[in-house]
Symmetry: C2
């Protein structure tokens, strides 16, 4: 007999987990809708030609590929098998893969449906994605992303709106967060003014690791990338000098912007980035004065993808990594043949948000099992009356159950307890005669005699 | 440049489709919850050992298999490749598959979590499933199932409750339906009394096809299955005789039960099946007098799976096949090592329900885009005031948008029209000075001057 199990890195969700997950999804969805975003869904499977080459070499490796149906083996090239070239062979027997994120399928959707879409297109999408990553704590092979993107508008009002959404979602979920913001154009400006414009990716990667590797490691890393010493020195004077450090929390956003303004004076791109940042921060300071937002030049997040703002959100209380992130990408749909469509988006990681909320115990107490009342089953004699009562209770919008078998009372009470059903209704022969039923509060243990109408009234509260 | 497309048999869902689909899911989910069912979710991927052999040979063939990660080719047995045995080779390079339905994963879940589950376990599950079927009208390779099952209770009250759920869901969705009901035990009883108890599957298969093949085809089919002529004659006398036909609508359920009672007098199994049917129909006639339910002996639905009641629902108006089905299965978890756990369940096919509702035009008119108001963007001068108004509108729970770019008014109006946004707010310099804004009703074309508070009041209605 096989012992049942599920693939590693995947999870089942029990009723009590589902209720909490639904709560998170509903909050996020509600905010998306309130801000005017419309839902779409795309298939779990995409053609591999859509997915490959969009997430880097590592991403390609982490795609789950689906075996072609039918007699796939007879159609393969025997040479490929002899060569033991797994990648080439995989392409012979597989032409579909599971989606890796929601952004590439969205870009594909936009291009494919461009004639039917009203631009600017504000869409949200809440669906699972799959990655053949090594499973570890907080990292799964199947997890949900909750994305909101705007395509077809260059206005910074979109960045601002997405940051407002971030504040509203986390405030509703009672998670204290710090939003980090950066701008790809500022990073490009820095690379320019230190004389190595082509090294922006190397610089960003090294800055992203500062916390881990320190100043020495940082200098070492850049040296190994063949960045000249004088460039590294200039960079360090802004990163590590106590007078104008761009990476500590000792300085306010305004201070940092001042440092940047004088430093990037000769870079048009850099100045554009600073200007974008100033507009975003200034409008938000009026509309969302309590948003905790911090300029952090170390923020990179797949830099080659973003072209403007880069955003990341972390919990102030639980060090679990990013729980939301996003940014502006100027040419995502270009890879599918639609040029000059700018987009900006954010993605909430529901699984990590769940973990933070569990750890902080911030799920509202009413987020539990929804059944409010169990009618005890005493047997066939009372059955018709019980079914009639149940019908009335449900009709009033109160989730209720009638225990299906006439087993011992104790067993039925245990069932109610384990399922956390707050009320149990006892309707024996006598009760039915008098139309006064015993309602037991399972938390306090108090019993009352009430009519059906009174019971419904009580449960409605 | 690649032209983007999606795998055949899969679909994207646009905002207008999503809103309607969500409506269906919410109705079904709401009824499930009201009847005391708890949600679970299982992973999209299951181990192939969980899935294989559960859906018959055809089902195994229709499973989407996932290629193992890493260098799978180096671990394969070269002999298997030489033999060109596709199936054996597939098992060498794939150990996971996409779920084919929600019932087998649910059985696996129950067995795996049996120590944490409170029985009877009433669960619902709404998730997509995947089948490598030949795509055709109304048949997709990815589609949603909405399942409700009770495991761990033999009581017929469960069958009754599921039939109540069916009536409530379709009544809320405004779809007129006929529920067909049958019982595996009655079919077994028939096979017994005509002297061929071992042929119950053959008989059921032939009866299932009566409408298509007629009496001659029916007799031919059974003859080819080596069922004796006298057995076939007896069967036909109940199936086709105008005096006691069990498969026409000329007779009521009561008539048919009367015919069956006299026919199956000598089969204990048959009598048990009749008794179950009588109890279900009799209780329902009290609790749900308007339910249109019809005993139909032709109903089989993967007979080898069901052991008691068999249920199927069809639209009275749109001939699209079954839109909901289910039944009692006495030993589903047995395959995973947990014996004697009886289950009964139903599954709604959301995709076909969608098609029926579209064709019947029964989606409520309020099931459309949710954005209620667009604030026109006149430029930076009015921006702060507009953002402030927008914040108030959203805070009142009214989904609203501020057009992100200060483009021509006509373009912004077209945007509102295409997105079916019912109101547009114009806040130019003058309006802001007077605090009286122009609200345009996009359907009637009527314009009014109102304060923000009045606008919110109006939109709330």
């Amino acid at each position: 007999m096989q012992k049942p199990s599920i693939p590693k890195g995947t999870r089942d969700f029990s009723p009590s987990e589902m209720v909490k997950r639904d709560y998170i999804f509903n909050v996020i969805k509600g905010v998306f809708i309130n801000y005017g975003y419309s839902p779409i869904e795309t298939p779990a499977m995409e053609n591999l030609s859509t997915l490959l080459g969009k997430y880097g070499e590592e991403g390609d490796r982490l795609l789950f590929k689906i075996l072609n149906s039918g007699d796939f083996l007879s159609k393969t090239d025997p040479a490929k098998i002899q060569e033991k070239d797994t990648n080439a062979f995989a392409m012979e027997i597989s032409e579909k893969g599971l989606r890796y994120d929601l952004t590439v399928p969205f870009a594909r959707y936009v291009v494919q449906n461009r004639n039917d879409i009203t631009f600017p297109f504000k869409r949200y999408q809440i669906q699972p994605v799959w990655r053949a990553d090594r499973p570890q704590r907080g990292r799964y092979r199947e997890f949900y992303q909750c994305d909101a993107d705007v395509v077809g508008s260059n206005s910074l009002l979109n960045e601002i709106e997405l940051l407002q959404i971030i504040e509203e979602v986390f405030s509703l979920l009672k998670i204290k967060v710090t939003v980090k913001i950066n701008n790809r154009k500022i990073l490009a400006g820095i690379a320019e003014v230190i004389g190595t414009p082509e090294s922006v990716a190397d610089i960003a990667t090294a800055m992203d690791k500062i916390e881990k590797i320190g100043k020495d490691g940082f200098v070492e890393e850049l040296t190994s990338r063949e960045i000249p010493k004088e460039s590294i020195d200039e960079l360090c004077s802004y990163i590590f000098s106590s007078k104008q450090s761009l990476v500590t929390t000792d300085y306010t956003n305004e201070d940092k912007i001042k440092f940047l303004k004088s430093w990037l004076l000769d870079s048009e791109t850099g100045k554009k980035g600073i200007e974008e940042l100033i507009i975003i921060l200034s409008i938000l300071s009026t509309t969302n004065p309590s948003l905790n937002i911090e300029l952090d030049l170390r923020l990179a997040r797949g830099l080659n993808y973003y072209t403007g703002a880069i955003i990341e959100v972390r919990s102030d209380d639980v060090p679990i990594g990013s729980i939301c992130g996003g940014g502006r990408y100027d040419d995502l749909t270009g890879i599918f043949g639609l040029k000059d469509v700018s987009g900006v988006g954010i993605s909430f990681g529901a699984d990590r948000i769940y973990d933070v909320m569990e750890q902080m115990k911030v799920f509202p107490s009413e987020v539990t099992a929804s059944v409010r009342i169990l009618i005890v089953n005493f047997g066939e004699k009372e059955q018709n009356q019980c079914l009639e009562m149940l019908k009335k209770i449900r009709k009033a919008g109160i989730p209720g159950e009638y225990y299906p078998d006439a087993v011992k009372l104790k067993k039925q009470m245990t069932y109610a307890n384990l399922k956390k059903i707050p009320y149990v209704l006892l309707a024996g022969e006598e009760e039915i005669k008098s139309q006064q039923y015993t309602l037991k509060n399972m938390i306090t243990g108090i019993q009352e005699k009430l009519t059906v109408a009174e019971i419904i009234e009580k449960l409605r509260q």
